[in-house]
Structure formats: structure tokens, C-alpha cells
Symmetry: D2
Subunit: 402 residues, 4 copies
């Protein structure tokens, strides 16, 4: 658990600097699997609408690490964590997204992968990372993997990494707001850190920070509906998903892709746990594929990839009664095979609703002046009413414009 | 010269919104050659040092257009330009970087191309863009090309697009500062626009804006030395250049690249003016190449590409007397062929000095209260002394670490 | 309605510049009654908690004017207003706070004044302002006064100046956030202006701006509870109010104030409509009084003024059952006369609740895609649930610490 | 040297929070002499040009303290200072401006006072402050006074408080830029702190921070010429000075000021070391005087005060050959007595030049890679040339417009 002789810093547009004091953190940042995150954009479809949002998972991962590092100024953490626990927390924060590949959403949906699982596999199985973590101690890699898989062995660290109000979200909401230019992602990070405490192994917040938490949750709500669920961004996601689907189907049919370097993708389908293969699947590779697909011998694949590369944005409409006829007409314009690739119906309700329910305070604990705990929902009129508000749902029909 | 029925806006993190009123501007933005700029990063080596700097030439080009659009609020331009001249200015601003490929610096050096020439060829020869510009009038595309080539036919517009203080630099200094997080690129754009006038076809600035200009020039100076000429960023540029060089040499030797899709690069070497081929050479393609090169059968190419992809930063030292022995020792560690690809000596002096000389006020005209013109150098004590200061030069030896 | 030969600008930390094109606006800004606003702080008690909040009603009034000026870019206003209406709007925006004196809240409560009424009297009765407005036309001053009094003769302008979402609030929320450093007052002004329309003389917002409105209303909610209703700020307000009350009672008892220049205050009590006297009552005068009061012969007045000047913050507790005994004990510590000046019970519920009810969308009209109107409450799940949430109320007991 | 049980924070618009850990710092902030700084604006004339600049010496003093507190993260200071030295540094930073009265420049010039001397007297002689500092130890107050007087007994702390690059300037340049809205005061504080070291009791900066220092010095240069020496701001300063001069002359002539509370001013002239009297002379008192003066029986005093209160800005022109005749004509328009109060000639050269000379690197030490020291001037081409550039001088004639 060696310290650097001199603290190393990386200039960051959000935090001024990312501060690194531990040799292992520096070495992990320089490792090939982590550097590869530079080649994976953080937001896929969103960047087609918000042109500034071209940042990578690399920047985001450094940011999450930095916030974790700042959390260590919280007395309950500084005093509660021993040296190893501190490092477990920092390493887990840094590596929380290491299992992502290019265009994760579309890939995970179509190929049935999970970035947490891939991340855990990579942390324990990749030689570069494994070697670095073994220098700390033999069980370290497994413990980091366990945290990413949320197995409950390190419940407090898991909460800090992934919960209603965690280091991951604190970075991405601010970062995505900064790069998109959205006006709504500003969070009072200093305040949140100042009111954070630990009681019985549980993260809690002093009631004096309720406004900062309300503000964070509403910023999150706005970022979701304004940015992440933007219909045009969503259309791009659907377009990508269809490209993946067609490629998968063609591979299964043993289609001849010619000079296109399809092997890594094939291998991923056959052996998803082949980590060395998986880490080749960055934006560079997949975008190279897309350029190849746009010239492929398969018409459907060619059209789908061309749409994506040249901003031929798919149409979208809400799947309401009024639109039933229009939707049917569009579908009929395509034959059966085309329909499977050129049209889609997606509801943002499910995931959103689940998020909203919890968003609005269900699992955020508030510590009152007398030391007793309460829930945010009971302490915040705004959150209580939002929790009762129920589902905001939107079912959208997407289609390729002929 | 049709106007949009409703002004269209694009959210931008620097300017709030990019505002588009003309149909042709909207259509140009949506055209495939312009969308392709999303796939070409604005800064190549720099992003390896400043991790936030992952923005593309697409964002930058929109920004340059927006500044040109704001310049149209200057009375001398609003009244001096007719409808066609206004559109010439806006279209030239939007398309000024359309001739860039991936990693321009390295490519231009190794393959002997010029993005202004490629841009002019693309504007007159690409079907998508040509068709759009022909809708305005038959000579429009040629006139835009002429402005990019600085032929002098539209001297005022050329100055506004490219001179000591132009719409291009005004965007990139602020934008690169925003994305890198550098503290020094802030420019008082509002003030500069308020003091801009035109006298005898020449851009001049009222003397009340001298502080804003001084500040702009010093911001530029700092951005160059802090960001663009950062030694580690420079090391990456040299690495890239060597990859290009090796690839070129191997192509000339008819090396068998296996499954690597080398054809577009070959074609570019044989027929650089083949525009349809050229526009395939975006980051996606070149980065796909790099991934391929890192597994290539050629050892040198494989090592060079691996260095770039996995942050094995090349060493660097100033080429001074004190370092002569060390440099010789490093060179001797390599055989003759390796030396050509694994070591390099680069001076940032030349280009810098030329820039500096002009930077510091040589060609910026100041209008005094009585209406007469003077030079910035005569009106600004800071700039006068900086002009006399002479060359800041740095000759750097770069080398692959074995 | 003369234009300036050259647009005049005033540097502003929020908007870059305040832009003035009309001679009358410039002259009004330079008039003595308007310059006097420099000597009246925008926030009274709040600055004792948020030390940065030392800005005046002068800055705020310029800001409100600038936002009104930017509103004139809305097509429905630019086309719907004739030259006189435009000027009515701008002048009313600029002068909307002209009737404020020092520490308005405390003064208005104790002395029974209303700044709208004083403003209207000043605009029609002050020689400087009257003369400037008469240059436009003879009824202009009366029309501006009518707008401030919300008589309904210029319903659209009244809405723009004072309603749920008006130029006044748009400036003060952002400005107070900027100067206090509160993280929550950021508003997407550009977006709000882009979605503003006028239908049948009513301000409406396109549904695409709902998120911006939600964000504005929640920013407003947070600014109220975090900043304006901050208990310590509130304690200072109560302190001030008691000073006013004691001064009033002493004047009524013909107390001898010695060298303290009490005449303007006396005159205000006898003849509140004496405008020339009223405009002397700025912070300079009142603060001079406070310094005098802190040395006065009356013990109660001396203690009250000393508390204010030297940050002897009054105690406060919620007026709940649990605190009944403590409150009674404190009261008993004072004799009857002291109780009237050294203790107070104040509910922030009433005003807040009324605000909240309307805040949350009751009177904000949303224009749907098909052109029909709806209410924000029906279109925004957040606002609907917040409207149902009912009263957030807080009854606070304040007391001088012996 | 008691610590607070819980760190106390004050919300600050520049730094997020001011952090206080020591009981004595908290008590000093709450003391009457320090709270009085709320009633003394930081910039006097400047606020008449930059309307946002209404902040007080209170905010600035908290800011200087906070920067000193952040400096304590510098290893050479954290390790080099013992507990008492740390507190000496923090207390001196907090109290460095405690000796200022209202409108210091004008007052100091006319009445021959020095705020450092008054500060030292106040720290050792004021009961409130003395008592607090005596709690630390008996010599503490004298040592803080010694630092303000720069007697050389605590050379390192004196440098940190007041030198070319000190905690005072670091705060006021950023703060004044923030409140004026000037684009040029941004400083890379984090970087400056990271490169600060101590060698042989001398503050030095690592050469890697040269760009940050250059940027700071140029920001300072621009703030001086753009903001502090703005001719209209200067005109207000001259106006104020003349008011002081007339008041002084009238007092010396035993003029009857009627109800105006002139006693504290008289007392200050008779016994400048009467601290209890001096601390009454805040903006509240002096502005109360100005309001009184504007109605005084003396015509000259009345006109001067009226000019100041109602923005009747004095005229100004450069005192050049071309303007000689115009200046003489203006002077002749006044009789001899009037001339003394209604006209003035002021050179900003002297003070500026002295500043510039040192500004540009004379006394800033740079530590090279090999540990040896050099001067900024030798290491920075920009600073070297600026040092050689010589004087920028401006002699200005100011006059009351009849």
C-alpha cells in the first residue's frame, strides 16, 4: 500500500485536479485495460443531440475516483476505514466501469451481457490489473470484484459506490451537464460531503442537508428526461441496437463479412468470458465495424449503419391511440424481415419508474438533531409528494425513414 | 438563400446555443461530410495529457459558425455585407475545417497534404455539399473554396476567417480551455465584438478594446505553451507521426497487412485528390487501423501502435549540450532502421516564433479616437515589449522507451 | 422616444453587459432617485448570513431592465408591441423597485407603507423622473404608475413585470444566488425566452419548455427556504422590525433624540406621501440612525441597535409544544415593556403557502403542440404533486439574548 | 489555541465555503471591530462604474483568511510552522485590513493616516480583540501588530501576507473580478499553491508554475488598468478627496455644521490614535455625513457632496500639451477658492510604475529542477520584456462640471 513520493495530479475541467497519492492508483490508471476506457464514450446516443457530450468513460472514472477521495474527508469514513478499506473504496470507485464495452446499452441488450459481471471478471482475470492488486494482498482483487457485484460483503463501500446517492452518480450528473451544456446538473457536492455520516454501517445525511439532497434528486430527474431520455438520443440508441441485432443474426447465419474484421465480435458471442477478446471491443473497433457495415454486402446492415454514421435520424412518435393508424401504416411499408430491424417500440417507463420511486427519497436516510434516523420521504415535502406522484411513462415507436 | 421558418438551435456548453436561421446552414450541418467531423477529434496528442479534451472538429466548427453569426451584429458588417456576402462568411466559417482528416498534423507532415486544399476540393467536388451550395448560385462553392485558399478575392472575409484575431481562434482557444480545464483561455468575446470595425476593407479595433486584445493574445500564448506544446502531448504527436511513417514505408514496400483494411490509406497515397476516398479517413477508420497495427506482423509497426494505444509515453529531453551524451546513448540502443522510427528531434521554435512575432500585435490595427489607424504594437506597451522579446524556442529529442 | 447614437453598456457580472439604446433609459438611470437605489441593499437580513449578498436594488433594477430588453427578442412581443408599448415595458421594468426605501420589509410592516404605492407616487410626482417621462408624452408617467399598481390597464405588461414567472423574479433569483453563492438559483433564461409566446394577451410557454419552468420553480423554492427564510436572516429582520417599532413609539412619545437626525423619519410618519422626504430614507440615512440609536439615551433602543450592528444574533426556536415551556421562561425573563421589543413570534407559513400554491404551476399556461392551452399543473407531474402537497409552515419564536 | 468541536463554515461565492477550525478565529470574526468591516466597502470609486462591485472589506478579509488556510496544505508550511506560527499567520491574514476606515484612499491622503498603523493600534489596543488574542498568549497581539507593520520579526509570514504574490492580492483580484464582472481576474490558485515552497525562509515557486504566475501578474496588470485606474472611478475618488478636504478645512475654521454629527470626524483629526472613536468611522457614518453635507450651509461642501451622491461625474482629460488650453479655460471658470476644491491633477504613473517594476517578476523567486533559485524575470520571457518596458504613466486633470 505504497504512497507516491509526490502527489500526482491530473487536470480536470470539473474539479480542477484529480489527486492521486497511492502508487497502485497511478499504476491502475496507466494500465492498458483502464486506458482503454478513453476509447469508450460515456454517452452514446446523447452525443448526437448534445454535440458537446463527447467525453469518455475514462474521464468519468477518474472523476468518480476523485469524489471517493474527497469523501475520505468525512470524519466517519476517515476514522471508520482502515488503510485497506480506504484502498478498497478508492480502487472500486476507479474501476467501477472497467467492464464496459462500446455502446454498452445496445450491446448488453442484444448480446445479453452485464458490465458489472464483465468488470468483476476483468479485475480478477486480467493479468495487468490482477498483478497490481495482488501487490496489495492476495484477496484484494476478489474483494473489489465482490463490491462491483454487490454481494454484500462490504455493504458500506457498496452503498458509497452504488446507491441512491453515490460517487458514481455525483460525478456523471455534473460531468454530463458540463459537457452537454444542460443547465440542470449542478450539485452542491461540498454540502453533501459535509452532511454525510455513517450510522450502524449505513450512509446517512444530516437533516441540514435536505435541500442539497432535494436539489440533487431533481437535477437527476431533469438530466434523465432532458438528456438521457431525449427522444432523438433514444432513436440513435435504437438504431445502434438494430445494428447489433442484424450483425448478431448474420453471424449466426455464418454470413461472409468479407474484409470486415468480425472475429472479435464472433468470439464474444461464443465465449463472452474471454476477457482478452472482450477488451478489444472499444469504440475504435466497433466504429471501424460500423464503417465496414456501411459498405457491407447485406442491404439491411448497410442501411442501418449508414443511418447511424450520417445522421439520418429515425422517426419517433408516442405509441398512443391517436397514432395507432400511423404506426401501422409505417410498419406495412416494410416487409416482415425489415420490420424486425427498421421499427421498434420502447417504453422508458419501466426503468424510469423504478428509478423515480427510489429517487424520491425511499432509501435515503436522514439523521435528525436528536440523532434518530428518518427517511428523506418523511422529512421532505417535495420528495414525499413526488413519490406519491407515480409513474411517468412514455412508450415510443421508432422507425427508419425510408 | 431561404430562411428557416423557425430558428433552429443546438445546445452548446460554451455559448448556450448555436443559432441557425438559414436553410442551407442547417442542410450543410446535416450533410455526411460535415457529420463526419464528429469522428475527428480536435486535439490529438493533447487529449492524452488533458483527459477532458475529447471534443471533435464538429463542435468546433459549429462554434466558429456561431461566432461568425455573432460578428454579424457588428454594424460595419451588418451594413457592409449584402445577403450573399453574409452567407459566404457564415458558410466559410462553418466549413473552414471540412478538409481535415484524422490526426491531421501527423498525416499532413508524413503524407504531404494540406487541409485547406482538401477542404477546397471537397467543397467544390463533393456531391452533397456542391448540390447544397449550387442552390444559392453557381459560383458559390468556388467562392467559398477561394476564401479557404486565401486567394485574396474576398479579402475582408478571409481576414475574419483567418488572421491574428479571427472567428476560428476565438472559438478554439475558449473551447480547448473549457474542455481541458486550463485556466487561461477565457476571452472577452462580447467586448471584442463591440470594438470591431471595418475601415477600407480592413478589420480594425477601437483603442478602447486594447485590454481585451492583450488578454486574448496572452491567453493564446499560454494555451500554446501550456496545452498545445505540452511535451507529453508532443510525444504522442511524434508517436503518431512515426506510425504514419512506418505504414507509408510498408505500403511502399507492398507489405501484406493481412485482414487490416489498408485500402483507403493506400488509395490516399496514390490519389490524394480522390475526395470520396479521403472522407473515409476519420478517427474511426484510423483508430481501427491502429488497433490492427498493434497486432500487425511487422514488429516496428506493432510496437509503435501499442505505445499509442496503451499510454507508453515516449521519453523526451531538451536537445542541449548537457544532454548530447544521453541522446547519443539512446540512439545507439537502436539499430539504424529502428532509429528512424523510434527517435525524433523536433523544434517548436520555428512555427512558434513566426506565430509569436505576429501574435504580438504586428498585424492588428487599432483605431484611435480621431479615427486614424495605428498598430497594436505601437499602442500596447505589453505587446511592444513582447514583440521585441524575440524567439522562445525549444528543441526536443523524443524516443521510444525500450 | 429618441435613440442613443451609440448603444451604451454597463458591465454586469451576470449578463456580461446591460444594453441601453434609448436616451430616456439612460437619463432615468442617471437620475437622482434611481441612483439612490445604489444606497439600498437588495437583501437586508440575508447578508448577515450570506456575507457575499451585499448587492443593491440598483444592480437588481438594471438586471430586470436587461431581461425585459432580452424579452423583446420574443417574436410575439417584438411584433405585438408598438414603440410606446415597448418603452412602457422597459421603463416599468427599470423603475419597478423605485419606491423601495431602506430595509423595506421592516419599514413597511411597522409604518404601514407599500413600495408599489410609493413607487407610483414617485414616478408621477418626483420632478426628475416626471420631466424625463413627460418628454415621451403627457400620460406616460401615469401609465407606468398604473402598471406598478397593477390596475389592469396594461395587462400583458403587468404580467411580464409581476406574475409567476416575470422579469423581476428571473433577475433576483439568479442575482441573489450569484452573490450569496447558493448553488440553486441557476435558471435557463435563454430557454425560457425561446418558449415564451403571447396568446390572447396572455403570456404562455410552449410545452417544450416545461423542464426549464420546473427547474425555475424549484430553484425559487430552494432560494426561499435556503436563503430568504433562513432562520438567522429572519432573526435579523425581526431585530430590525423591533428597532423600527421602538423608534416609532418613541417619536409618538415625543422622545428627545438629541443630535440624532430624526426629522426625516418623523416627517415620513406624519406625511408618508411627501416624496422628497421619503427618498432621503436610504441605507445611508437609516444606518446613520442605527449608529446613533446604538448610543441613544433610551436603553431599549440602544440595546436593539447594538444587537444589529454587532452581530448579537437573536435566539430562535420553533413554536412547538415541546418548546412552550422554554418560550414562557424566556418571556418571563423580561418585563412587559421589554417583551414587546425583545420577543416575537412569526410564521413564515402564510406568505409561503400562498406562494407555493401559485408557485407550483397554478397560473402558468402551457401551449401544447396543437396550439391549445393547458396549465403547468396538468402538464407537469412534479408541479401537480407539489401543488397537492399543501402547506409548508414554520412558526418561529425569536428573542433577544440577555 | 482551542479547536472548535465542529468545523464552522461560511458560504462564500468564490470558494464555496470559508472553513474555520479555531475558536479564536470564530470569536474574532464575531467581534464588533471585525463585524464593522461589513460596513466598509472594498472598492469606493470603482463601484460607481462597475455596479456589481458593492462588496465589503468583511468578505475580502474572510477570503484572505481562507486562502491562508489553504496555504497550510503546502508541505513546507504545514511542516515548517508550529501551532503558534500557524495561528499567527491565520490571525494576521484575517485582520490585515482591520485598520481600514470608510473610503480609505481619500481619508488617508487628506488626513494623513495609514491603515497598517491603525490596524496595529487596534489589534493591540481594542479591548475586544486584545482580550481574544491574550487568551492565546500575552505577546500574541503585539506579534500580529508587528506583522502588519512589516517589522521583519516574522519575515516569512510577512511575505505570505504582503508581497508580490500574497494571500491578500490572491483574494482581491479574484473577488473584485467576480463582483465587477471583469473577465480578467481569474487565477489558477490551486496551481500556485501546489508550486509554492519555502527555501531559507523565503517563499519560492517551482518553475513548473511559471505560467500560472505570469497569468496572475498579467491579470493583476489588467485589473489595475481596467478596473482600479478606470478614469471615471478615479474621478469619484477625487470627488471624495475634495469632500474630505473641504470638511477638514471647515473644521479647522470652526465652521458650524448644525445638526450634522461632525464630532467623530473632529475627534479623529485631533486625536487620530483614539481607536474607539476611529472605529465609528464606517461607511454608515461617513455616508450619513455625505447626506448631511449635501444639505450643508457651505456651498462648496454642498456641491461636492451632491456630485458624489447623484452621479454628477466630474470631467477628466489627460494633462497633455494639446489639452493645456482647455485645462486653463476650465480653471479660469472658477475663482481661486473653488479651484482648490473643484479641480485636481493626478498622476497614476508613480504608484503604478513602482508596482509594475516589481510586478513583473523582480522579487518572485523561481526554483529550478536542480533546486537552485532564479528570478522570475530571468525565467520568463514575458516578464523580462515587461520589466524592460518601463513606465506606463497617465497624468489626468479632473474638474467639476459647472
Amino acid at each position: 500500500m505504497e504512497k507516491l513520493k509526490k502527489q500526482q495530479v491530473y487536470k480536470d475541467p470539473l474539479y480542477g485536479y484529480i489527486h492521486v497519492d497511492d502508487l497502485v492508483i497511478k499504476d491502475l490508471i496507466n494500465s492498458a485495460p483502464f486506458q482503454r476506457l478513453r476509447r469508450i464514450r460515456h454517452l452514446s446516443g446523447v452525443q448526437m443531440v448534445f454535440h458537446g457530450a463527447e467525453h469518455s468513460r475514462f474521464s468519468h472514472s477518474l472523476g468518480v475516483y476523485e469524489i471517493a477521495n474527497r469523501f475520505m474527508a468525512v470524519p466517519d469514513l476517515a476514522e471508520g476505514f482502515d488503510t485497506r478499506q480506504r484502498l478498497l473504496f478508492l480502487v472500486s470507485a476507479l474501476l467501477h466501469d472497467i467492464g464496459h464495452g462500446a455502446y454498452s446499452h445496445a450491446f448488453e441488450d442484444v448480446f445479453g451481457m452485464k458490465h458489472e459481471v464483465m468488470g468483476a471478471a476483468l479485475i480478477t482475470g486480467n493479468k495487468d490489473i490482477r498483478t497490481l492488486l495482488d501487490r496489495i494482498d492476495q484477496g484484494f482483487a476478489e474483494d473489489v470484484a465482490s463490491i462491483l457485484l454487490k454481494e454484500g460483503r462490504f455493504a458500506l463501500i457498496e452503498q458509497l459506490i452504488s446507491s441512491q446517492l453515490d460517487v458514481d452518480r455525483l460525478d456523471y450528473l455534473e460531468r454530463d451537464a458540463y459537457f452537454t451544456g444542460a443547465a440542470y446538473g449542478r450539485i452542491d457536492l461540498d454540502r453533501l460531503i459535509r452532511v454525510l455520516h455513517v450510522r450502524d454501517g449505513q450512509v446517512v445525511f444530516k437533516h441540514t442537508g435536505i435541500h442539497a439532497i432535494e436539489n440533487y434528486l431533481i437535477a437527476r430527474y431533469h438530466m434523465y428526461w432532458q438528456v438521457y431520455y431525449h427522444p432523438v438520443a433514444h432513436a440513435y440508441e435504437v438504431n445502434l441496437e438494430k445494428i447489433c441485432l442484424r450483425a448478431k443474426d448474420l453471424i449466426n447465419q455464418a454470413f461472409d463479412f468479407g474484409k470486415i474484421d468480425i472475429d472479435p465480435l464472433k468470439r464474444m458471442m461464443e465465449e463472452p468470458r474471454d476477457i482478452d477478446n472482450f477488451i478489444q471491443l472499444d469504440d475504435y473497433y466497433v466504429n471501424g465495424l460500423l464503417v465496414g457495415f456501411a459498405k457491407a454486402n447485406d442491404r439491411i446492415l448497410r442501411l442501418l449503419a449508414g443511418d447511424f454514421l450520417n445522421r439520418r435520424i429515425w422517426g419517433h412518435m408516442s405509441d398512443t391511440k391517436d397514432n395507432k393508424a400511423a404506426i401501422e401504416a409505417i410498419k406495412k411499408g416494410y416487409d416482415k424481415e425489415e420490420q424486425a430491424y427498421f421499427t421498434a417500440c420502447r417504453t422508458v417507463e419501466n426503468s424510469t419508474y423504478q428509478n423515480e420511486e427510489t429517487y424520491f427519497g425511499d432509501k435515503i436516510y436522514i439523521m435528525l438533531d436528536n440523532g434518530s434516523l428518518s427517511s428523506l420521504r418523511d422529512q421532505s415535502k417535495i420528495m414525499e409528494s413526488l413519490t406519491h406522484a407515480g409513474t411517468k411513462s412514455d412508450t415510443r415507436f421508432f422507425y427508419r425513414k425510408p
